[in-house]
């Protein structure tokens, strides 16, 4: 009995060693892409004041250690699910009208700076969020960047 039990532990040890000694089939890229800059109309800041009916230009600068995959620019109402939003200097500004924007850029290489021109409907006012996200080919996600777009009549 003792011999057999010892044998089991030996077998078990071999099993564990077999598994742990297996090297992964792929060398893993676990480094996230980095969004270095987000400029709205060539200005880099947290809150941007824009005018309804006009267009604005978003330019994103980003890098990755191996291979970029996609960049997403998204605009959605900041009034999502939890009451209206006050920002210092814009108290009481209600969101009026519907507006959303979403665009995905296919990227490649280790650096890119895509640009998008976005038209603002002339029927809206209020506060919207500009979200910027990036992913590389391995599925690593960048830290997300969020900015306020204050749309005035």
């Amino acid at each position: 009995m003792k011999v057999n039990m010892k044998m089991q532990w030996v077998v078990m040890g071999m099993m564990v060693l077999t598994i742990f000694s297996c090297k992964p089939e792929e060398v893993q890229d676990v480094e996230r892409p980095v969004i270095n800059s987000v400029m709205v109309n060539s200005v880099q800041q947290e809150t941007h004041e824009l005018t309804a009916g006009n267009s604005f230009v978003v330019q994103v600068g980003l890098t990755d250690n191996e291979d970029l995959s996609q960049l997403k620019i998204n605009v959605h109402s900041a009034d999502d699910g939890h009451g209206h939003v006050d920002l210092p200097g814009y108290e009481g500004l209600e969101n009026v009208g519907l507006w959303s924007y979403s665009r995905v850029f296919d990227l490649s290489g280790t650096a890119s700076s895509p640009t998008s021109t976005i038209a603002i409907p002339d029927t809206i006012t209020g506060i919207w969020h500009l979200e910027i996200m990036a992913i590389d080919k391995a599925g690593n996600e960048s830290d997300e960047k969020v900015y306020n777009l204050v749309v005035l009549p």
Partner: protein
């Protein structure tokens, strides 16, 4: 790789089988060690911990799942105060079954943020199974199970309990009232009925920080309060039980349970958090949007018949789970004009029927057989979409044979075969342009049907050695049927901003598990070392993809994949009671996971944790009993994480607890428990909390008082 593993397992099986002939056939013992808080039981197909009911009342942690976390190998996957589900050796949700009176609890458990619908006071006996318990409980018990039984029969004609609980953090307050009555009927028939009603409420959740960071921005938390996170729970349990001394029907038990919970959701969980939204409305006890209402009801019938010398068991259960998520419409393009706040409505009806028979064979071998049937029907509604409606059926047969002879060496063998089918309904979501419906729709789910069959088998043995050594080993093949979200989810889970996508090509998950316990008992203590290794050839998990969602507010797509996975770990537990009034125990638990293709860890795996408990008690005369308990927990850094998952720093937390009880005659007593948690006011993060990605710390120092009057 897979072939090597299976070959090694097979070899080990043969070694064990051969070894039985060399066992001296001596009088053995029950493989059971009684610790202070629970009794270890290495029985048949799994090792388990039968939890002392006193522990549940003395270590209450807000939710049942949290209460259990000071047991070795058990942790909780939580979302603040009111929502938590148990985690056993890193497995949770679809891989940990909750068995209530023989019937598996079925709710909307596919979501990590969906808590266990349970009244934490309504537990008579609780057994926690660690490791696969698939033979009898099915593939959903691949990682473990919580087996819950009714309160025991009263020693007198009746028993009652009035229980009250208050807490300073989030101002938890609640009460629970229980009564059961024994009835003496003619012809030796005995019966009882009983009921428990529980109500618990909490205010907004508080954490020991004044700000949090999410989406690269730091937002303030006024007084550390997470706005709109109040909870309210209402629970009802009613049961009746009859026992018959003669005839075919020997016992009958009917149980009804209702669990109604309302939870506000932290606005940071739904959409992008803003200064105003996290500041809240100033009212800490109300529920505003977004919030979740969950109503779970079940009716259970358990019967036992005697046929010849054998017993036949039958369990029938009907459950209805209704989950409603409410928020202001916030998905542009999918919301019609004047849409209401119902973002997601999910109604699941489940019917189960189990039939089993125990056979006593020659030479004291016991054969247990069972048939199980289950039907599920899920309906969905609301402005948003996550999972489609579906109809599912499963039927299984199992047989286990156990050597019950009281000799030094016992062995057992089990086999289960299951057949199942699912019909998933398609879902097309209308597209709106400036509130007006258009002709276009977005296909969120394609209809499809699946039918498949799986099997599981386990072989194990126990050995009672000399000098109080005990060894238990189980080896087996397991399977699990994918859940609806794994097959067909297609939507955005709040809080993560990620788009989760099911995979209609998934096969039944399967793997091979080995589990062993070595126990040594002394006069004033015992030690236990548990190890387990599991290899899954097609483990299902959610993995990030290299592309974005096509939904307007969706982020990165996370899709369900099947990969080869290694899951291993163990627990070391030492229990020492040098004096009658002094007990100390320490446990160390560790897990290692590896996706074999990439070498990365899996998500939501608990860190290495050390738990240390000390309890001193004093009994004065026949009436007074005092106890003081200190519980320390040291969690190490969790740096082995899945892709895009954050590492979590370690922490050290001390909990203390003072108890007093006064006992009268006839089991009457009153007890008070004063509990101080996180005495050192540590600011720490729980790797298993859904608040972790938002950098929200766990609760700071908080005090809870409990009073229980038993009569």
């Amino acid at each position: 790789m897979k072939a090597t593993f299976i070959l090694l397992l097979f070899w080990m099986c043969i070694e064990v089988t051969w070894s039985q002939d060399s066992i001296p056939r001596q009088e053995g013992r029950v493989l059971e060690i009684k610790g202070h808080w629970f009794t270890f039981q290495a029985q048949d197909f799994f090792s388990s911990m039968k939890v002392d009911p006193g522990m549940l009342s003395q270590q209450r942690g807000g939710q049942l799942s949290n209460t259990l976390t000071f047991l070795p190998g058990v942790s909780a996957l939580s979302t603040g105060v009111g929502i938590a589900k148990p985690v056993i050796r890193g497995f949770s949700g679809a891989r940990v079954a909750v068995i209530d009176m023989g019937i598996r609890q079925e709710g909307q458990q596919w979501g990590n943020d969906h808590g266990l619908e349970w009244d934490q006071f309504s537990i008579g006996n609780l057994t926690i199974v660690k490791g696969a318990a698939s033979m009898e409980f099915g593939g959903d018990a691949l990682g473990g199970a919580l087996v819950i039984e009714h309160e025991p029969w009263p020693e007198n004609k009746s028993s009652s309990q009035i229980l009250a609980v208050v807490s300073n953090n989030n101002r938890q307050r609640g009460w629970s009232v229980f009564h059961q009555q024994v009835l003496k009927l003619s012809n030796g028939v005995s019966a009882r009925w009983g009921a428990r009603i529980t109500r618990l409420s909490t205010d907004d959740y508080r954490v020991p920080v004044d700000s949090f960071t999410y989406l690269n921005r730091t937002l303030p938390l006024k007084n550390g309060v997470l706005s709109n996170t109040a909870t309210q729970e209402n629970h009802i349990t009613a049961f009746s039980e009859w026992r018959f001394p003669n005839g075919g029907l020997r016992s009958l038990r009917l149980t009804y349970r209702l669990n109604d919970t309302q939870s506000g959701l932290f606005p940071g969980f739904v959409g992008v958090p803003t200064m105003q939204s996290v500041a809240g409305d100033g009212d800490k006890s109300n529920f505003s949007l977004p919030r979740v209402n969950n109503l779970h009801q079940k009716l259970l019938l358990a019967m036992q018949f005697k046929a010849g010398g054998d017993f036949i068991r039958m369990n029938v259960g009907f459950q209805r789970s209704n989950r409603v998520e409410l928020s202001r419409p916030h998905q542009p393009g999918f919301v019609p004009f004047n849409a209401d706040s119902l973002s997601l409505g999910l109604t699941l009806n489940t019917t189960q029927w189990n039939l089993g028979k125990d056979w006593i064979l020659p030479n004291a071998w016991r054969l247990k057989t069972g048939l199980q049937f289950q039907l599920k029907q899920n309906e969905v509604r609301g402005n948003e979409f996550l999972i489609p409606g579906f109809n599912q059926h499963q039927q299984a047969f199992f047989a286990t044979i156990v050597d019950q002879t009281k000799f030094q060496f016992h062995q057992f063998l089990g086999f289960r075969v299951e057949q199942g089918g699912i019909v998933i309904k398609g879902y097309q979501q209308p597209w709106y342009d400036v509130d007006q419906p258009t002709d276009s729709v977005l296909v969120r789910a394609l209809p499809f049907a699946k039918r498949s069959m799986g099997w599981a088998a386990q072989y194990g043995w126990t050995w009672n050695g000399p000098k109080d050594w005990q060894v238990h080993s189980v080896l087996g093949k397991v399977y699990r049927i994918p859940q609806i979200n794994e097959w067909a989810i297609n939507g955005i889970h709040h809080g993560s901003h990620r788009h989760e996508k099911g995979n209609a090509e998934l096969k039944w998950e399967s793997g091979y598990q080995w589990d062993a316990n070595v126990m040594k008992e002394w006069e004033n203590g015992h030690a236990q070392l548990t190890g387990f290794v599991a290899y899954y050839d097609n483990f299902i998990f959610l993995a990030p993809q290299s592309y974005f969602s096509d939904l307007p507010d969706g982020g990165q797509v996370y899709a369900y994949l099947q990969r080869e996975v290694l899951w291993t770990g163990g627990e070391l537990f030492l229990d020492w009671h040098p004096l009658n009034w002094w007990n100390a125990d320490i446990s160390l638990e560790a897990l290692y996971t590896r996706e074999i293709q990439t070498g990365l860890g899996l998500p939501f795996v608990p860190p290495i944790v050390m738990k240390f408990n000390q309890r001193w008690s004093w009994i004065k005369g026949n009436h007074h009993e005092w106890a003081f308990l200190i519980n320390m927990r040291n969690a190490f850094d969790q740096n082995r994480v899945s892709r895009n998952e954050r590492a979590t720093p370690g922490y050290f937390v001390i909990n203390a607890n003072l108890q007093y009880s006064y006992k009268w005659f006839n089991q009457r007593s009153i007890s008070f428990v004063l509990q101080c948690n996180n005495v050192n006011n540590s600011v720490y993060y729980n790797h298993l909390s859904l608040y972790r990605p938002m950098n929200l710390a766990e609760q700071g120092r908080w005090i809870q008082g409990t009073m229980a009057l038993n009569f």
